[in-house]
């Protein structure tokens, strides 16, 4: 079996390779999404911490 035959998939190349490509995309998206999500969560908590520090500082001033 040579490579072009392999890629040709007996005439079903479009269907087979679209399927595999979509699968790859979905897998990558599933890996990337939680990483972004984690960054967002951490950024949000950091903002909350900063806000609370300001609030406590203000409260102590009064």
């Amino acid at each position: 079996m040579n490579w072009s035959e392999f890629f040709h998939m007996g005439g079903y190349a479009f269907f087979v390779w679209t399927s595999y490509a979509l699968t790859l995309i979905v897998i990558v998206a599933n890996i990337v999404a939680p990483i972004i999500q984690r960054k967002k969560v951490i950024a949000r908590i950091k903002r909350a911490i900063k806000r609370e520090n300001i609030e406590t500082a203000n409260a102590e001033k009064q």
Binding site: F6, M9, G10, F15, V16, T18, S19, I31, A48, I49
Partner: protein, 245 residues
């Protein structure tokens, strides 16, 4: 016993325990997946009926299985969350939904891409196809409800309840479509004529299924950790952790 479960299922405990597991799952998913693909694409023989197009099976079937499996995980852990008030279970459910939805999507798309060469149409209104489509909608409904409710705890419980009600519905849909299709009309579309599977096809299929499961395992851990961080964002353990970053 009860106390032990409570402590063991605390988000803090989970967070510290889960980190090493992720790598185990991810790496074995990668290795097994690559080996399965190798066997599936290069070693497995051509199907005498379907030609090469059957190679879609190695992603279609594992994806379809996963979409069902993950829904069950989601519903069961929602039930645990509602009945025993275990927060970790809610987080697992919430973390599972997007993963399950993406597998359901994959199963649909790869199935449709397989249907065109096999049946001559991308889509037919068959019981299995319809219930898979509805399954995707159930996932989307879960996620929409989860994000529409502001109060996190209400969101968990509400969407959990929806997941449980959906479980009752899936078999009903499946059998009703099946019955409805066979009651009337001669079959207009080729049914799945289940090929008695060659062992060289079965092994890579099983390997791929295992790889998908392990992949899900890794993903759900990562996502659950995010949920834990988010939900416990004003607990001390999270604050200390964040300050260290």
């Amino acid at each position: 016993m009860w106390n032990w479960i409570q402590r063991f299922s605390s988000p803090k405990h989970f967070y510290s325990m889960s980190a090493p597991l992720i790598n185990v799952f991810a790496i074995s998913a990668l290795l097994i997946g690559i080996y399965g693909l190798y066997l599936g694409l290069f070693v497995a023989p051509t199907d005498y009926q379907q030609g090469e197009s059957y190679r879609i099976i190695f992603i279609h079937v594992p994806a379809a299985w996963m979409s069902l499996f993950i829904y069950m995980v989601m519903a069961i852990s929602s039930g645990i969350g509602i009945i025993w008030q275990i927060r970790l279970a809610d987080m697992v459910a919430a973390a599972s939904a997007p993963i399950g939805a993406s597998f359901a999507f994959l199963a649909l798309v790869t199935g449709a891409l397989w249907g065109k060469p096999m049946w001559g149409a991308y889509w037919v209104w068959d019981a299995r196809l319809t219930s898979e489509l509805i399954l995707l909608f159930l996932y989307l409904g879960y996620m929409a409800l989860q994000s529409a409710i502001d109060d996190q705890r209400s969101a968990d419980k509400a969407s959990g309840l929806l997941a449980i009600v959906g479980v009752v519905n899936i078999p009903i849909i499946h059998y009703s479509v099946e019955w409805w299709n066979t009651l009337h009309q001669g079959a207009t579309v080729a049914k799945f004529d289940k090929p008695s599977m060659h062992i060289d096809m079965l092994i890579p299929l099983m390997l791929m299924a295992l790889a998908f499961k392990l992949f899900y395992g890794a993903l759900v851990l990562v996502r659950t950790r995010n949920e834990a961080l988010y939900r416990d964002r004003n607990r001390r353990w999270v604050r200390e952790l964040i300050e260290k970053l």
